[in-house]
């Protein structure tokens, strides 16, 4: 156990150093996340003419800024790392090390979070400025829940990406699969359009899917748009999905490794 803790600390430190070493690349990477702002422009023009179902310009601003903050804090790049490791055979070396490769990847992705958080701060400040007290959740409990939700959402993102990356054991390119996933995510997570503005049937269809849990749920909680019962239900759903995804990843990983033959030895 002690060994494990030491190991994790070393991995995290190495990952953090790396995220600082390639800061220009990292910054550019993070700046690409601006689709919420593009959608905000559209909606604020709409709301400028007249509110949409009670949503005013400021509501949209707050919503999309919160979306950006959550998105930055839950980002990962496992698909790319894992796919390239599997394709090029680099995974062979990593398998020899006394740590599970997925654990190394997780540590790398977690240790980039401080830098990501720094980028998220300006958006968060803008959010506070645009919102004022009446557009944010009040009390400690919702914020505590939101923090927990973001952690679970990150775990879900990591697991999904790892599962898709693991698919490279079986198919030529996992990137296309991930693009399909991202397309669904954009629509059903509330990334493009707040889910509350969706027609009822579409919202219901996405209720138990993972997408909403990974973005819209923490955002709604931070903005105080959902109450205690829904918060509890959301957390339970997130935990259930984490368990399911974890089991799926384990099964995929084992089946994949059995098939895999590294190139180049």
């Amino acid at each position: 156990m002690r060994r494990f803790a030491d190991l994790s600390r070393a991995l995290l430190r190495a990952g953090f150093a790396e995220s600082l070493a390639y800061r220009a690349e990292f910054l550019v990477w993070i700046l690409t996340t601006n689709l919420p702002l593009v959608n905000l422009a559209l909606w604020s023009a709409v709301a400028h003419e007249a509110p949409v179902e009670g949503w005013q310009g400021a509501d949209f601003a707050v919503y999309y800024l919160a979306t950006l903050v959550v998105r930055h804090l839950t980002g990962a790049w496992v698909v790319w790392a894992l796919t390239s490791d599997i394709r090029r055979g680099d995974l062979a070396q990593k398998l020899l090390k006394p740590v599970h490769p997925l654990w190394v990847l997780a540590a790398e992705n977690i240790s980039a979070l401080p830098v990501r958080a720094v980028v998220a701060v300006p958006f968060a400040l803008l959010l506070l400025h645009a919102a004022g007290p009446d557009r944010l959740a009040s009390g400690v409990l919702p914020w505590f829940a939101a923090a927990l939700m973001i952690a679970l959402a990150w775990t879900m993102t990591f697991l999904v990406m790892a599962i898709i990356g693991t698919c490279s054991f079986f198919v030529e390119s996992a990137y296309s699969l991930f693009e399909v996933w991202s397309g669904l995510f954009m629509v059903f997570s509330g990334y493009l359009v707040p889910l509350q503005l969706f027609p009822e049937w579409l919202r219901e269809a996405g209720r138990y899917l993972p997408f909403r849990l990974m973005l819209s749920l923490p955002v709604e909680t931070m903005l105080g748009r959902i109450g205690g019962a829904e918060i509890a239900e959301g957390l339970a759903l997130q935990a259930a999905w984490v368990a399911v995804l974890w089991l799926a990843l384990r099964a995929f990983w084992r089946a994949g490794l059995r098939r895999w033959a590294a190139y180049g030895g």
Partner: protein
């Protein structure tokens, strides 16, 4: 000139052969492109489910903007970005030396080094959306309108390309920037709505600094017969200025290039 046309043909052929080698990937990419196209409709559908017009643009009219956006996005992904990624790679590995040594214009060679034919369905899809928008609007564009729109589209491709050359030139200085392509694409995403939805500083930014208005909004206005001569003049000026800027920056950057191997 004829030599460059032949060279272009050879480069396109090589890219095509490479792409068709990975057949499954090729088919899947074509499909995901269509899927992405569909997802760009979602915000528009939700907005126009409640409104008949936004900042003076009705649903069919917004479809025209979206159509031009989809065409240009496919051009960007099929003809511009793949080469961008290749140049960044060349610079990092030092293999740009081999390109510079070849007896043809280096800018031409790197710009045509890679095409991705799986973006082609996207171009067709974009024109499909244009036709659909015109049908909904119940409008047959005039010959002048169509010509103007096509000219603007050509200018837009030229501006896109020039912005791209400037971006590539940044890679000469910031060596490890593989993801510049993504940044470029994500800024371009703002062109999917009529430029009138952007107000204040953003309106100025997207009209003059990164001329997204020229790329999608003005061609749509031309098809609708709403574009005045002043805008046409501005478009010509912008295209010219960007072409000049791109060439200058490229020549300056290559002049400073010191190779990675020596």
């Amino acid at each position: 000139m004829a030599r460059y046309v032949r060279l272009l043909f050879v480069q396109v052929r090589a890219s095509l052969l490479l792409a068709v080698q990975y057949r499954l990937d090729f088919a899947v990419q074509g499909l995901t492109a269509l899927f992405w196209t569909a997802s760009t409709f979602v915000p528009l559908l939700v907005v126009y489910g409640r409104r008949t017009a936004v900042t003076g643009w009705t649903y069919p009219q917004s479809l025209l903007v979206l159509g031009f956006f989809l065409v240009l996005k496919s051009v960007l992904e099929g003809a511009v970005n793949p080469s961008l990624v290749a140049v960044v790679d060349h610079i990092r590995r030092g293999t740009l030396d081999f390109v510079l040594l070849k007896p043809a214009d280096a800018q031409f060679l790197v710009s045509t080094s890679k095409f991705d034919p799986s973006a082609a369905p996207g171009v067709l899809g974009g024109f499909g959306v244009l036709a659909w928008g015109l049908a909904l609007e119940g409008r047959v564009p005039t010959a002048t309108g169509t010509t103007t729109a096509l000219l603007l589209l050509a200018a837009a491709v030229w501006v896109l390309y020039s912005v791209w050359i400037v971006v590539v030139s940044a890679a000469f200085r910031l060596v490890r920037v593989d993801n510049l392509a993504y940044l470029f694409t994500s800024v371009f995403d703002a062109a999917r709505w009529p430029s009138t939805v952007f107000r204040g500083a953003f309106h100025v930014l997207f009209t003059w600094v990164v001329p997204l208005a020229l790329m999608t909004t003005w061609p749509a206005q031309a098809l609708l017969g709403r574009l005045d001569a002043a805008h046409l003049g501005a478009a010509a000026l912008l295209a010219f200025a960007f072409a000049l800027l791109g060439r200058r920056v490229w020549l300056a950057s290559v002049g400073h290039y010191t190779s990675a191997s020596s």
